[in-house]
């Protein structure tokens, strides 16, 4: 091969070898023992370098093998479809952001650093917490890092996790804490309201708990109305309080900072990111103004500083916590994070503004309640829980949900997440229009009727 668009020096090999003073490229690999040299082509791709045109055809083919739904998916479980303003993709596609890397050299990366500082600051306002890092991978890993952090601080080994928190996050938590021997103790929830069972929580909150986790709204979309109580228990037991939040819900409800929680986590996916089949997502991680918490916080943080002329500037701060200085004593191993997604979040929040976030949260509230109402107007269909909810909600059906799923598939609809034989968790946002919701409801009604009449 004598030319390839991504390999500019193929025609200069001899010239470069001459400068080096060797006869061929293989000589540069003389230190690799012969028995482990490959000496054959790798069996990858399509047998030859594809032209851009052919790559695009392959991509189109993959797109075609997917099925385009007739309405946005009615499934959430922490990752929900939203409208993404065009300005976001436009900005994060700018080369200077997109093809840059962690701003190790702050003087040449002031724009990137400022953008990340603004992300931290915007989320801080949303949460009413003082310190936010410049991202974790996702909500799941943010939860895991929060628990590992609690363990670093108080050395205790049990974390209380409610059964009504997101099971996908719990799976991640379980994986991440296994090395440190931390145990998860699950806390029951009230089967009527869907909220956490405070009695069970109190019962399980012994002296070995390192942290108590609570999700607001919880996995069922239900608002937890006793957060103060939970935080009190944590304080009483000298455990850290960790609250997971849906950031968009904060347009309506009280932010974690108002409850004096130690650590707030969440996912920035709902702040301007596409679904991406589950990744990249965007882990939010915040702590309150407390040195112990800040010093033990994982991840990168940008702060304000001054240059040698006294001008305000930005730089990475608290780097002594990080692996490239502290190695095995670091607060976390995270280096590559989700910085570009953090910038996307910053743009989204800037576009929304004070009023926009409230309007959007209201719109989601209205639409999800409309959908819930339409579904529960169907005979024998009901809400699984009595407490109020946001965006996501659990519906109970008179027939097996698999039957409903099959029917929805005929119409190229994606229904909610199956939770049990007869319950499913639905997600409805501002991009589900009345027509789509009505179609969902009528299709489900039809599926149920079919069972009854057959």
């Amino acid at each position: 091969m004598y030319k390839h668009p991504w390999l500019p020096n193929l025609g200069l090999v001899n010239e470069m070898l001459k400068e080096i003073g060797v006869a061929n490229i293989d000589e540069l690999f003389n230190d690799i023992p012969a028995e482990i040299k490959l000496n054959r082509l790798l069996n990858i791709g399509r047998g030859k370098p594809l032209s851009e045109y052919e790559i695009e055809e392959e991509i189109k083919e993959k797109v075609k093998k997917n099925i385009e739904l007739s309405a946005p998916p009615f499934i959430g479980a922490g990752v929900c479809p939203h409208y993404i303003p065009s300005a976001i993709k436009f900005i994060i596609s700018r080369s200077e952001f997109y093809t840059s890397y962690t701003p190790y050299q702050p003087e040449i990366s002031q724009g990137l650093l400022q953008a990340l500082f603004e992300y931290q600051s915007l989320v801080a306002e949303l949460l009413e917490m003082e310190v936010v890092n410049a991202s974790m991978y996702d909500w799941g890993s943010a939860l895991a890092e929060a628990v590992l952090m609690a363990n670093r601080i108080n050395g205790k080994k049990t974390v209380l996790v409610p059964e009504n928190s997101n099971p996908f996050h719990k799976e991640v938590l379980k994986t991440w804490i296994q090395g440190k021997g931390i145990r998860i103790k699950e806390v029951k929830y009230n089967k009527n309201t869907g909220e956490i069972d405070l009695e069970d929580l109190e019962r399980k909150a012994d002296d070995d708990i390192t942290a108590i986790y609570l999700q607001q709204p919880n996995f069922f979309g239900i608002f937890e109305s006793n957060i103060e109580h939970v935080i009190d228990i944590a304080k009483h037991k000298k455990a850290l309080s960790i609250v997971g939040v849906n950031p968009l819900s904060l347009g309506l409800i009280k932010p974690p900072g108002r409850y004096d929680v130690d650590i707030a986590i969440g996912d920035g996916q709902e702040l301007g990111l596409p679904l991406n089949f589950g990744g990249p997502l965007m882990g939010i991680f915040a702590v309150k103004w407390d040195m112990t918490l800040i010093r033990q916080m994982p991840g990168r943080i940008v702060g304000i500083t001054k240059d040698n002329n006294g001008n305000m500037g930005f730089t990475l701060i608290l780097q002594t916590r990080e692996q490239f200085i502290k190695r095995e004593k670091a607060t976390s191993n995270i280096t590559t994070n989700e910085a570009l997604m953090a910038i996307a979040n910053a743009i989204y929040l800037s576009l929304l503004g004070k009023e926009g976030i409230k309007e959007l949260a209201e719109e989601i509230y209205f639409r999800s309640h409309y959908a819930s109402k339409k579904l529960t107007e169907i005979k024998d269909v009901s809400n699984a829980f009595s407490s109020d909810f946001f965006e996501e909600f659990v519906i109970k059906f008179p027939v097996n949900y698999d039957i409903i799923s099959r029917k929805l598939k005929e119409k190229r609809l994606q229904g909610g997440l199956r939770l049990s034989d007869k319950t499913a968790l639905f997600c409805v946002t501002e991009i589900h229009d009345k027509k789509s919701i009505d179609l969902l409801a009528s299709t489900i009604e039809e599926a149920i009727k079919n069972v009854e009449t057959s």
């Binding site: 668009p5 490229i25 690999f29 003389n30 230190d31 702050p106 990744g279 730089t315």
Partner: protein
């Protein structure tokens, strides 16, 4: 120039909004009330800025102009593999963008097929049996790998194995990952040639050794030529040999970790497989294993069952899930496109051409005595580490000063002070995508900087001068009385509501 904070743009404090919310009036007629308990309602609206679309776009466009990426110039950041990211890759996320991770598998056969092909290709590339794409970045891959090692030993009742070996040239993430998994870390010293000292290794290794985390070529760009012996030593005590894929670029297509005796490999797709680095992320990763260890991979993997792709493969003894869903699939798509563009013939040239670039750069600088090389007769692979100690000792110009001087000359800086075994280290990775002309220019600029350091060190110490801001005060940034991680802290401090951080 200088761009105000986004909070300070709307000086008139007027009502603005960057995009309108689509409101459905029919639905609002149907659902008229919000029934959230009063005590839960937010009392004060969050202090977000109110801005028009123009203000937001202009603000961030200006910020972008105060940044530097591969598209603007060479970024010789060692061990970061800042190669060019072909623009065709940006079409690839279309495959995944609008799909929810929990959609019915029949709706996402295209995505699953792509993931399946990538699993197979990455196994072939690394010489491993199986790859999981769960890990969203490199260090998450390492962590997964270490957890696999831990569980592997537990399943074999070798809980006494609590030591993890890490080369002293290793990336800082290696010991951090090992520690997160609960291991005690033992550093393996390098010999004078910059390679793992086999004699020391033999002395250290014992029954408590759980594994050895190694990158090959190592962070000096040197190939661990005794890798087969290292492998034998580790396997003799049932320890696992772990491959840190951060440095794979230099041998891509030339040799495979699997053939060297490694049991587990993690890959950084954002380095070796051209996913743009996005200002720090998102990246994408893979974690691969051989033989029995494949049973410990994080789940789920994609498998093909009766011609249909399913996310149903859960390795028997899997350590679990690393990410909430299946890793950074949007970026996997980019690597998929990249590999299609390379093909078998292209990929075998990556290791060769990146190694050629490194050694060419060394050759261009070999007469600059102030840039010292360990094991100078050994060829480098993906990168090279110079020591600027002579300059620091004789002229007071440090690696950091040289880095700033490079910024003033249109280049990003190398990785500095790493690996720690090299004093005043300048770690340079040119990659295969930089044209020879750029390498020549870089060598010329570095040579000029060295000359200036000798003749006029003050000018360098004052730098950088061409950047949007001068050299920044790290002490002020981190001092408990002035540390400012958010605008909220700035405001509260001004209002006297918070003080010294304690």
């Amino acid at each position: 120039w200088e761009e105000p904070l986004i909070f300070e743009l709307n000086k008139s404090n007027s009502t603005r909004q960057g995009f309108l919310i689509n409101k459905d009036e029919e639905i609002r007629n149907y659902i008229t009330e919000i029934n959230i308990p009063k005590n839960l309602l937010r009392e004060e609206v969050p202090d977000l800025p109110n801005l028009s679309e123009l203000e937001v776009v202009r603000h961030f466009v200006r910020l972008s102009q105060m940044s530097f990426g591969v598209d603007t110039g060479m970024m010789p950041l060692g061990s970061c593999t800042m190669k060019y990211n072909p623009k065709i890759e940006e079409k690839a996320p279309e495959v995944v963008e609008h799909h929810h991770p929990l959609e019915d598998e029949d709706y996402v056969q295209g995505i699953l097929e792509m993931m399946y092909e990538l699993q197979v290709w990455l196994s072939e590339i690394t010489g491993m049996d199986e790859c999981s794409l769960q890990v969203p970045a490199g260090s998450a891959g390492e962590f997964a790998g270490v957890l696999m090692i831990k569980k592997f030993h537990e399943e074999h009742n070798r809980n006494y194995k609590d030591l993890m070996l890490v080369a002293d040239t290793a990336h800082g993430t290696n010991p951090a990952s090992a520690a997160m998994a609960g291991y005690k870390v033992i550093y393996v010293k390098s010999n004078k040639e910059g390679l793992v000292d086999i004699n020391i290794l033999k002395e250290i290794v014992n029954d408590k050794t759980a594994g050895f985390m190694l990158t090959n070529p190592n962070t000096l760009g040197l190939f661990e030529e005794n890798i087969l012996e290292i492998s034998k030593i580790m396997h003799s005590v049932n320890a696992v040999l772990y491959y840190d894929g951060a440095n794979l670029n230099g041998i891509l297509g030339v040799a495979r970790p699997g053939d060297m005796g490694f049991d587990i490999v993690h890959l950084n797709l954002h380095k070796t497989f051209a996913v743009p680095h996005g200002g720090g992320g998102p990246g994408a990763g893979a974690i691969c294993a051989k033989g029995e260890l494949t049973e410990y991979l994080p789940y789920p993997l994609v498998e093909k069952v009766n011609g249909k792709y399913k996310l149903s493969k859960i390795p028997q003894k899997s350590i679990g899930k690393i990410a909430s869903f299946y890793g950074n699939v949007g970026n996997l798509a980019r690597s998929f496109a990249y590999l299609l563009g390379l093909g078998p013939q292209g990929i075998q040239l990556i290791g060769k051409m990146s190694t050629l670039a490194t050694n060419y750069l060394i050759a261009k600088l070999k007469d600059v005595k102030e840039l010292e090389l360990i094991a100078e007769n050994r060829p480098r692979k993906h990168e090279v580490v110079f020591s600027a100690k002579p300059l620091a000792d004789n002229y007071g110009v440090t690696a950091n000063d040289i880095a700033k001087a490079l910024l003033d000359n249109g280049f990003y800086a190398p990785t500095i002070y790493f690996p720690p075994i090299i004093e005043e280290a300048l770690m340079i990775e040119p990659t295969e995508t930089e044209p020879k002309e750029t390498l020549d220019k870089f060598a010329e600029v570095l040579r000029k900087i060295v000359e200036m350091a000798k003749n006029n060190p003050d000018q360098i110490l004052k730098g950088p001068n061409n950047t949007s801001i001068g050299r920044l005060d790290q002490a002020y940034a981190n001092h408990p009385s002035s540390i400012t991680p958010t605008y909220r802290v700035l405001k509260l401090r001004k209002q006297g509501k918070i003080t010294y951080l304690k």
